[in-house]
């Protein structure tokens, strides 16, 4: 297996050519994927129309199960959004240049998962048209939302995160959009001319671009952490057993990073295969991403164990009862599946043979996300089935309406992503050039230093202290 993150001999013109080629002439597979996504979306739209006409009854959402798959899937999508922008920002700040070929699609994933997640509170509300009530707007009656509610915090946090992530993605794309502008014709030329904002790559633009990008990265890291902490507060600030847990915010953040990293691996493999990006999305970069995912999986596992042990030794009888019911109650198969996919399966990634087996890693990355989706479901539903009052004990299974909408949300995400990769370069051309340039530059510098050292060795007799003086 090659050990270098990227082939440093690749010509810059070739990078432009390869990436721009990926945006041209969709093949049959692309249209099939679009068709599949549209079909999935049609299921969701059909179910939503039915639910809209009939009311929330067919979803099975009723007391005590007021929250179910819609909220679980909302958390899942919010979580998945975290890795893209958060990892991109962190890796940018620490100057880990291996992020450069893969950050663009990861950031796009963030934006699209947020757009998907944002649909679920609206669908869950039932009365879609009243969604704007959560926003703080001036009204004649002087009514304001309850700012003490974490649900209102959600609205603030998610809208801030969506705006900032979308802008972060867009700013990072400007130099590439200018390249697209210079190479496009027809409607694409007009589109890229508008989107590239008149970029020409002069030193003034680069200077301000770098500052802007760095500052945004600095803000996005705490923002991403705060968003999922706030989503965790939706649960942790209640007094429900299984939800009122101190470790929930870090647990949610770790779970978010975990599912996001798994999704990055899935999309990495798909883009590498379909767009023939083997030269950019290389095996060493995939290897690093997998190792990172494995590390986060271990953090998530640890936080699970902490949660179990603090409930076990906390002597809260109700919470303990709930924990036991997760292990052997009606939802036990799903809970065990969550633990298997989330905590046991990742150990496969410790083996180099598995990490270098692309089909195996593709399946594992999908299963990790199945585990992460189950995790969110197992947070929401078991608590509501077994809370404080025996008369409220109730096991509920989601109806087909909920399943269809959840299923369709994957189609919606897929559709957005497929459109994105054909309109915008999914590999950052200028950043890959920078990566190659800097690595080559460093390599030359290294050689130069060695050469210099040899030169100075000859002169060391006069200037440098000799061995005698050491």
């Amino acid at each position: 297996m090659p050990t270098r993150d990227i082939n440093e001999d690749i010509k810059w013109a070739q990078i432009n050519k390869d990436v721009l080629r990926s945006m041209e002439n969709p093949r049959m597979g692309y249209w099939v994927a679009i068709g599949v996504c549209l079909t999935m979306l049609a299921f969701a739209i059909g179910a939503e129309i039915y639910q809209y006409n009939v009311g929330m009854g067919p979803s099975n959402l009723n007391w005590p199960h007021m929250w179910d798959l819609y909220i679980a899937t909302f958390i899942f999508w919010i979580g998945m959004s975290h890795s893209g922008t958060l990892l991109s920002a962190i890796l940018h700040i620490i100057q880990a240049d291996w992020r450069k070929p893969i950050y663009r699609f990861a950031e796009a994933m963030t934006t699209f998962t947020l757009l998907t997640a944002g649909l679920f509170p609206v669908i869950h509300l039932g009365r879609l048209w009243n969604m704007y009530w959560v926003l703080p707007y001036f009204s004649d009656r002087g009514i304001w939302p309850n700012f003490r509610s974490p649900l209102v915090w959600d609205a603030f946090a998610i809208s801030t995160y969506l705006t900032s992530s979308a802008l972060f993605l867009f700013v990072g794309m400007i130099p590439d959009l200018a390249i697209c502008r210079d190479n496009a014709r027809g409607w694409r030329k007009k589109l890229y001319t508008v989107l590239s904002l008149g970029w020409r790559g002069d030193d003034r633009q680069w200077r301000h671009f770098r500052k802007t990008y760095m500052l945004m990265a600095c803000f996005l890291i705490p923002l991403a952490v705060s968003v999922h902490s706030i989503v965790a507060s939706d649960f942790a600030m209640s007094i429900m057993p299984g939800w009122h847990v101190t470790t929930f915010p870090p647990y949610f953040v770790a779970g978010a990073l975990y599912s996001g990293c798994a999704a990055i691996i899935t999309l990495f493999i798909l883009l590498r295969y379909f767009f023939r990006f083997e030269q950019y999305m290389t095996m060493p970069i995939l290897d690093k991403t997998i190792k990172l995912t494995f590390a986060i999986a271990m953090v998530w596992t640890y936080l699970n164990l902490i949660e179990f042990s603090s409930i076990w030794y906390g002597h809260d009888v109700i919470a303990k009862e709930l924990l036991l019911s997760k292990f052997n109650g009606p939802y036990a198969p799903y809970f065990w599946a969550m633990l298997f996919f989330g905590s046991v399966l990742p150990f496969a990634m410790a083996f180099e043979k598995v990490r270098h087996n692309i089909p195996a890693m593709f399946v594992i990355s999908l299963l990790l996300n199945v585990g992460m989706w189950l995790e969110r479901w197992m947070i929401v539903t078991p608590t509501l089935s077994l809370s404080y009052h025996p008369f409220a004990f109730d096991v509920m299974w989601p109806s087909w309406v909920q399943w269809f909408i959840v299923f369709g949300s994957f189609g919606w995400f897929g559709l957005l992503f497929l459109v994105f990769v054909k309109i915008v370069p999914s590999v950052s051309m200028y950043e890959v050039k920078e990566m190659i340039f800097h690595r080559r530059h460093l390599a030359n510098k290294g050689i130069a230093e060695v050469m210099h050292r040899r030169d100075s060795d000859k002169q060391s007799g006069s200037d440098a202290p000799g061995l005698e003086g050491a």
Partner: protein, 175 residues
């Protein structure tokens, strides 16, 4: 005297930097490095060593945005809570500081990000009509030196560019 836009395209950073270095050392009297704009497909890490530190005001706008967002955010929430006395408070303070801090934090980031973007658009002179001299090759692999100079300097600068293996030279009269 007529003024010209001049663009020299080089195949690599080294040649372009050598040409700028000559200008910096006043090889052509009357032409200074301040007249030079470097156009490149990537940002070169050592560009400031050649062109001098030209600075950026973007962080100041970011700071201003962050301060504005947090202050106005808190005041907005407090004003809304103070005016909405119909809402039952359950004995808690009308203006809840811990929760307002969470929301002010989000508004701080939102305002900081938006002001950073606004500062970037203005400072980088985006959303303006592009100068007529532009080469698509700069988006691929060539490095351009652009200058705005008087007619008498045109030939010496072209000669300097040629000394440094310029690939192409373009010029245009400024109307």
């Amino acid at each position: 005297m007529k003024k010209y836009h001049l663009l020299g395209l080089f195949s690599n950073f080294d040649e372009a930097f050598n040409a700028i270095s000559d200008i910096r050392h006043y090889k052509i009297p009357g032409v200074s490095v301040d007249d030079v704009t470097l156009i490149s497909p990537i940002e070169h890490p050592e560009i400031e060593e050649i062109l001098g530190d030209r600075g950026s005001h973007v962080p100041k706008f970011t700071l201003g945005g962050a301060l504005f967002g947090s202050t106005m955010g808190f005041l907005f929430l407090a004003a809304a809570q103070a005016n909405f006395s119909v809402q039952p408070q359950g004995g808690k303070p009308v203006i809840a500081i811990p929760t307002n801090l969470v929301l002010s934090y989000e508004m701080m980031i939102m305002a900081a990000v938006l002001s950073t973007i606004a500062a970037f658009l203005v400072s980088a002179r985006l959303l303006q009509k592009r100068k007529p001299l532009y080469s698509e090759n700069v988006g691929i692999d060539q490095v351009g030196i652009e200058m705005e100079v008087e007619e008498k300097y045109i030939e010496p600068i072209k000669e300097l560019f040629r000394e440094h293996q310029v690939v192409e030279i373009r010029d245009e009269v400024i109307k």
